[in-house]
Symmetry: D2
Subunit: 350 residues, 4 copies
């Protein structure tokens, strides 16, 4: 039985990526794509890349009850933070799966949202019900949803840093303070609307740091690592903007708790990801390009005896595994479908 | 029944793209990938993008009879020109489909190969048997192969220019002399081996013409247009190198034979491509990015009353529709499979 | 004696490029930079690339009489079309040189501005007084200004196409109808303000045509070529957007009037540019990257006996020779300074 | 009096950049450019960007005594490590300044070269005589050369990391162990010869780490920081390759020794660089693009009370300030010329 899927906030990059992935998904039929600013115009006019696949789909305006009207089994939300919390309660009123790609339901501690997003949360009581949509850490919780409820998928940097560090933290191999996550992202992470810092002439041939000490993915990385550590973990996170469309590479630094070698830390990664369909543990430094357009994550680690550091590195496509692909993967698990359904594992190269 | 597929010359970019596409193809099982210079090494070592999909596949050396030994139903050849003519006779000795992505069997007139490739052809008697693998022009001939024989797929620029111009030439709307094809390609068209003119520092932030008056795709464009015109067509072709990985845009200029309008030339394109699954006729100028990683071709045309020109433009991904995707499409037709099997129609965006 | 220079409309890319070039110019002292939307903020805040050179310069608002107040000897205007025509009369009221980089005073025929810019011209009586600021064609007229009056510098595509074709047209080697100019530009040609079609995620890895049949540089190319031909010349112009910051390459097609060879057309270019300090005639196809950041223009040509075409190609940096560098060169001539003063002839490579 | 300058190893990128800078230098006349692999061919054939400036210069082969034959006052060496140590003794036999841009004479401790470069040093006795060519740290030593002797200019990453960290280390504000330097470079840092990892199709749209734990700039960064600290400093250095031509950004992490604030660490930078002509201390995160083609360095720092880290960031152009520009600056000081002579401080933007 093919499920009826809708995308609320489909005009952004994560929406377009969902449309790309769901077109190749054997179990979903996209019957709704909302985009208030584009309402009434053809999806193919905004994204000619979708013209051959969706010749007749147009953006609609969202209104209360729309998901019921259309009989949606699953809704993906690709809305800016602060917006999905206004809509999710309505979506959840039906017996369906709601997968939120935004930031509103990711942080478990109700004190964190106001502190990092500088606004009150509208429905803090929902935070406890949201399942964090990272199957590599929360597969059981996702499966337990049984096809309905709320999934909050991780931030793109968060998936990257978490998959690099979690096995090492969980194994107690590294200290839980003093961790540094130094990461670089392609420009699509900043979204579709034109801004001074995302024009070609600003970005091309440029590399720069941004959001020093204050990036909102910081508490989310800490939440994940604290979860696997069983104690508070502290992270300093520095994001950079690289002149490319897609891709995130996180280079993470942590202090070993005891004697480690490059081989021993890699072995921990290999053991942790042995049965993961999307995680590739490699001896070579991962490259974002190897993951372009696929749901794969490439991970490695090494240990430096000389200076006393463990370095763990992960690469992925921020729009696929880092956003829409990860969301489809989480939805697959939550809906009892094969976890890899509709998800490319081959990157576009070159 | 899944067919056993092999790729001879799999270490180049068209080989890697074939591996990408065949992994998602429901009817093919890749059981052989040769690459003499890489023999013995893992496919995933050269192309980490394929690591999750082909964890155990390694490049092998080619030897006579290998296709028989492996029981191949279909072989794709991604070899440099001059090389596949040495191997294809051996491959054809079995009852199988051989799809050659190189230049050796494209030109029908035996005089053309030596003139444009500056070498004698080793098996000119095979030229008449090769079916030109452009389904939009030769669908019937491909289907008539009934699953065995030789298909020669077009050059990447050739597919682009042909699909822009053929309907206009066939309809007699434009003159058959004085046609100009001005095209730009991404760098992957130059292949994988490092060369001075394909290093990042040469290409990035550069735009340049090359192969002035002498590019080998010229006679092939003329052959296709002459075929649909029923008379000799002459084309001046100027390729350019653009700082991008993939994509070809061909902007073509032809003289109208009578009164035309932008609307009338577009209508001819729309009628010609009405039932084509991969051709999108648009009112907006096509963009290579809209076709990234997909088998789609975007086409438009306009007419300039003031200066007396018809301009026809096509865009596609040179490695997908322009090479490996087009080859799979031709193979699908020749094998009696659904023409779109395994072929993405959604481009990666952004 | 160092001249007092001002830039009106200094916040755009041509303004920033003027600031770059004038900082290295021995005869100019920049004492004014206006930018209404940025008034009050430091130049270095908008363009950190200028921080070390102009630590104390801030954008000001323009008002009537400002050029007199500051005792300006020369004013460069980097304003959008339609805007400089409102300001130039005020600037010209003093005895100074006004160099307009915009489109308002380029077209000599008063009927052309309304036809191509879809607006009435505010001061059409000034058109006859403006000297067209392309020293390679109008050096004498510029020198005759004697340091005061109005110079209208060419559009970026116009300089490129004109320098490729003018010697061939002037020598009567090619026909004056049926000329095609097919050109590609870097993204800086579209200006600084963020727009949907200039974001990194739209442009990077994309190549597309735009402004089909209607680009406003068309009549200006025709005006220049008609000037050297002594009769009306007609041109079809197709611009493309390439994923790079700077650079224009124009590939131009014209019909020979008689027998020509590649050598004979190149010889005409060599003779025409023998004493030009910024024009390099080469046997290799020009590359935009070879001109990056310099005021050089690279030109070549070839003749195709087979199809009966002459192809002429030119490359330059759209912001340097194509805009601000060309403007400084014209100002140098008009002010009686050495023509090359302050103008780099070495491109940044890589 | 104009000095006679030669470039040994002029065919590489640092050689081309030296030719660019020296063309605009008022005190140098380039009379020799060697490049063994290119001997006999025109400089303009390899670098068309230099065609207008050096129409008649050709690469020559190097031979013993060549610098004497040509009466060189100053020689810049742009040779691979291991090669300049074979030539420098010959060059030093005359009374001239030799500025080596390679790695052979940078490390003071004779044990370090074999350990990091895996080869014996041919003339270890020269190490003590070489002055380290970073004027911001060794201005006095350079000036004391009085126009003759040997200067070893820093590695590109080294200049970047040193200028970010040195004032903080020197002031005792940060601990001398546990320092992390995480940096990204444009592709020109890998040199001109085509390699698999520098082709456009490998690099474009990719971000990756390389040389994990083993990059040869590590001991050089430690040497500089140890020099200013007056004690051993240990650094973990992770370089990354970014898809751009030029530019290095180093994001450096160090533990504060006491209470610091963002304002207090910035104040230390401002005080240290108050009179430096090429160092800009900013409140905004530095951007490599702001330094493109200029000799400027942009630096900032901040302190994170929450996690206990100081972050210091520097950006520069790896070929200008990071190599050839830094070398010219050092030569200017060593020759008693104005330190800024011939060195652009305005970056090319965009």
């Amino acid at each position: 039985m093919v499920l009826r899927a809708g995308i609320v906030g489909a005009s952004g990059f994560t929406g377009a990526e969902l449309l790309r992935l769901l077109h190749g998904h054997p179990e979903f039929d996209v019957v709704l794509a909302t985009g208030d600013s584009q309402a009434g115009s053809a999806v193919a006019a905004l994204y000619p890349s979708l013209a051959a696949a969706y010749p007749d789909l147009s953006f609609e305006s969202y209104h209360r009850g729309l998901a019921d009207d259309r009989g949606l089994d699953v809704v993906f939300c690709g809305l800016p933070h602060g917006t999905s919390q206004q809509i999710v309660p309505d979506l959840l009123s039906g017996d369906r799966l709601v997968v939120d790609l935004g930031a509103d339901f990711r942080l478990k501690d109700p004190a964190l949202y106001p502190r990092w997003y500088h606004a009150e949360h509208g429905v803090p009581e929902l935070l406890a019900h949201a399942v964090y949509g990272l199957p590599e850490l929360f597969r059981g919780e996702l499966a337990a949803l049984g096809g309905s409820g709320l999934v909050a998928t991780p931030g793109c940097y968060v998936t990257t840093a978490t998959l690099a560090l979690a096995p090492l933290v969980e194994a107690g191999l590294v200290e839980t303070t003093g961790i540094v996550v130094d990461a670089a992202s392609g420009v699509s992470g900043a979204g579709r609307p034109p801004k001074p810092n995302t024009t070609f002439c600003t970005v091309d041939e440029d590399f720069t740091a941004y959001g020093l000490l204050e990036h909102r993915h910081t508490p989310e990385i800490e939440q994940n690592l604290s979860h696997v550590a069983g104690q508070d973990v502290q992270v300093l996170f520095t994001p950079h903007l690289a002149p490319m469309n897609r891709g995130i590479l996180a280079t993470c630094y942590a202090r070993p708790t005891g004697t480690v070698t490059t081989e021993s830390v890699r072995e921990v990664l290999r053991a942790a990801y042995e049965n993961e369909p999307f995680v590739v543990v490699s001896d070579e430094p991962p490259s974002t390009k190897a993951t372009l357009g696929s749901n794969a994550v490439h991970v490695t680690a090494c240990a430096d005896e000389r200076t006393g550091w463990v370095v763990a590195i992960a690469a992925l496509d921020n729009l696929t595994k880092g956003a829409s692909g990860g969301a489809v993967q989480a939805a697959n698990v939550a809906l009892g479908l094969p976890e890899t359904a509709g998800l490319p594992v081959v990157g576009l190269y070159p």
